[in-house]
Each structure stands twice: as C-alpha cells, then as structure tokens.
C-alpha cells in the first residue's frame, strides 16, 4: 500500500503575534470569486514585472489597501480601472500548507518527506463583483 510521511515539526508551537494578514512564517491566503487573467511571459522593460529570489519572475496585479477604521475590511485595486471590496475572514477550519516534493528528471533519486510548512487561520476574501474606479 502506498504510504507517505508528513513532517509537522516546523509548525509545532507556532508563536502568533496578533497579525491576522500573514502567518508567523509570512504566508497569506487570498481568495477572489472570479478569475485572474495574468500574462504568462515577462514583458521586457515593464515596471510591473519583478524578480523573486533573483530566479523567478512575478507580475504585479494589484494593490491592497487596508481600511483604517474597520480593520477587517480591505480594498484590492486591480490596474487603474477596477476595485474589489473584501474582508479578512477567520477560516472555519484552519489549513495546513503542505510542501510536496515533485519527482522530475533532476531529483529522481532523492527521497524527501512531505512537510507541513505553515498553518493558515485567516484569508483575504473578495466576494463581490469589481467596482469601477471613478
């Protein structure tokens, strides 16, 4: 019978500092009811593209602004024409983040366990339709 081990030692005794946007390891879960259409190739000389860890490319798709008065509300500006109203919600069932090794040509020989690398208890959720920016 196929079996695998999930190593949970990284998430034992996590210290929460009251920050509900990111986890102690700095992760955030963002949910949008809809689809994000993003480019899959880098456009040269475009300030919306950055390098991550000097290896990977990432494209900017929005700007997140937190409401100063109601701390559980957020606004996501997408481009110059759309904004989404959202909230920071506590998850009914917290989520463990599993880091799962994928066998490919480079690491066929390496046996590595699945690791639980973080526990997410909140998410930023945008349930409404986009509003125009006037």
């Amino acid at each position: 019978m196929p079996t695998a081990k999930i190593d949970c030692r990284s998430v034992q005794n996590l210290q929460y500092d009251g920050n509900i946007i990111t986890t102690p390891y700095g992760l955030t879960l963002l949910e949008i009811q809809g689809e994000l259409n993003l480019p899959d190739k880098v456009v040269e000389n475009n300030e919306n593209f950055i390098k991550v860890d000097e290896i990977y490319d990432a494209v900017k798709f929005g700007n997140l602004v937190f409401d100063q008065k109601e701390t559980n509300k957020v606004i996501l500006f997408i481009g110059n024409s759309q904004r989404l109203l959202g909230t920071i919600e506590k998850l009914n069932t917290p989520l463990g983040v599993l880091k799962i090794p994928v066998k490919n040509d480079d690491n066929m020989e390496i046996e590595e366990d699945i690791k639980m690398i973080d526990i997410v208890k909140h998410k930023l959720i945008f349930k409404q339709r986009p509003l125009p920016i006037m």
Binding site: M1, T3, I6, C8, N13, T28, L36, T93, L98, I100
Partner: protein, 330 residues
Amino acid sequence: MNLYNQINNDKSYTYKLLQLPEELLENIENGNIDNLELKSNYESVVICNADKSWKVRQMNHSNTVLLMNKTGKNNLIGFQSAAYEYELNDNKPTISKTIPVYNNSNTSSISITELIQDSLCSPKEFESLFYDMNGVYIDGFAYILSNSIISELLYILITKLMSNQLTVFEISDIEDIITPPFKKSMLDTILHKFAKSVENRYELIDSNISKWFGIVELSKNNQPVLKNEFLLNWKSSLPAYYSPSLDLNDLKGYYCSFLTTHILYINPIDLSTNLAIRFKELFAFNRSWKYDEFVPFINDYVPVGKKVDSLIIKYGKKKKVGNEFIVSPG
C-alpha cells in the same frame, strides 16, 4: 501593499492546502505530533496520527485562491494557486486483509508490520480493531484465534483466578497457565478482550465474559431454542463457581425472538454489509422483529448523519403493537 503573482516557479515542489480539524490542529500545535502518515489503497486515502485516522477528500472550488508570501515591507507574492483543498472527515477504521485462523502451525504469511501498514487506520485504531476480531500475534505474524481456543484459555484463566481468589492480578500471577499449545500472545488477546488494566494490573470484565460464553452457546443451535433451556446451557457453559449475572439483553445483535418462548441464533458476520440486502436477509429469518432486537443488527451500517428509523422506514416498516415496536417488511 503590492500584490504580485509568480509566472514561473520551482518545479521540484508543489503546495497543497489540508484542512485541520480542531483535534488534529491542537495536537500539532502543542507539539504532540511530529509526523502524520498518509496511507492509500485503490479507493481511499487516509491521514493518521498515532491514535486516530481521517479520510481525505479533494474539495474542488472555482474561485481563484492564491497562496502568497510576504517579501520586503510591502509586497505579497503569490507562489501557488490552489484549485482545491484536502478535506478531512472521520474515518471508519478497517483492516484490509483476510487474516487466517490459527491452527497450531504457522501458516500465515501476513506479517504484523505489513498488516498495520496496509490497513487504513491509525496504530491505536488497528490494535483495538485487531483484538476485537480476535487477532493474535504469533512469531511476528498475524492470526485470528478460533472461538474454541479463546473459550478454553478463558476458562483456564478464570479457574486459575478463582482458585487463587484473585480479582485484581498481574501477568506474573497467571502466566503459568500458558503451556503448549497455548502461547503468551494468546493471553494478550484474552486480556485485551476480557479485562481492563491500570498500570499493568488487570481485572476481568464479567459482562464481556458472560457475553462471549453466551454467544458461543447460542451459536451451537441453528434452530430456534427455548429461552429457558438456553439460559440453563449458558449458565452451565461457564467455569464452576463463576457466576456473573446473565442477561439475554446482552446478546442482542446475535438472536431474534420467536413467539415469546424461543430464540434463534443469527451470526451478524454472515449478513451482507449492503443495507438493502441485510434487511432482506433479516426479514428472511423473521417477518416480525422486536425493534430493540433488530436495531443492533444494522446500527454499525447506518451512514453518518442518518437515523436508524429513517433506514427502517426505507427498507421496511415500524409499527406499535401493544407496548412494543415491531419491525417488519414494507
């Protein structure tokens, strides 16, 4: 805060989200769990810790869910899109293989470690299930103890305790009853099934023992027997001077009553696990069941969230006759 999404990433890893029920989360966060185990066969996947197992189900959704990493002061960078979560539900522990009955020679090819690994349950659930089905470990292999060996060894054990006037005992008090063909591990099975233990001190559970001898005695008849005659035989099947209280109600789930004078043995293991067929088989024995004798035969097969009565109404009918409820075919 600027939001980015990676358009290429490390192909050596993928990231998935696993729902953590309260009990599991608490144990992980408190440091009680170092590792979880994922087990799968062709139809199910389970996650286990040492004590409990959960069934894993993939829950798809159509929303865009991004797992993002905070870098620098003001950037959140999405590195994994999650089209689904793994949902954990309570699992019904199972032992996956048919284990041979022990017949004084080593014929099993199922090693214990292999059996534990192959069964969709946690080690603690496995142990409980294994002893419930009369399992025994002999020379590293798994077997089922026959009813006759269990009855014989139990009989010897009770006689030994009574002759030494012991109610609470340690293994050292009784280990001399293990002479060939019995083995020490058979005593472990007997103690798991018929005794409770606190810090290596054991005490027999009389109700489990009387039930065992009752079922064995009942199973000797394949025709309805007189209740009074059966009660007499049940009493005389117990070791001399051992007198636990005997109550026919303890054997519910193994018999049905006929008229008010007779009972008929029914082995629940012989019945189908498919509820529709199980109902038909039960009605073939008797078309007018007492409700509280009928329910124990189907209780273990009621799907989570459903009530017994809703199944009885689906596959048969329940009516009140005098002071009692009767279950009969619909």
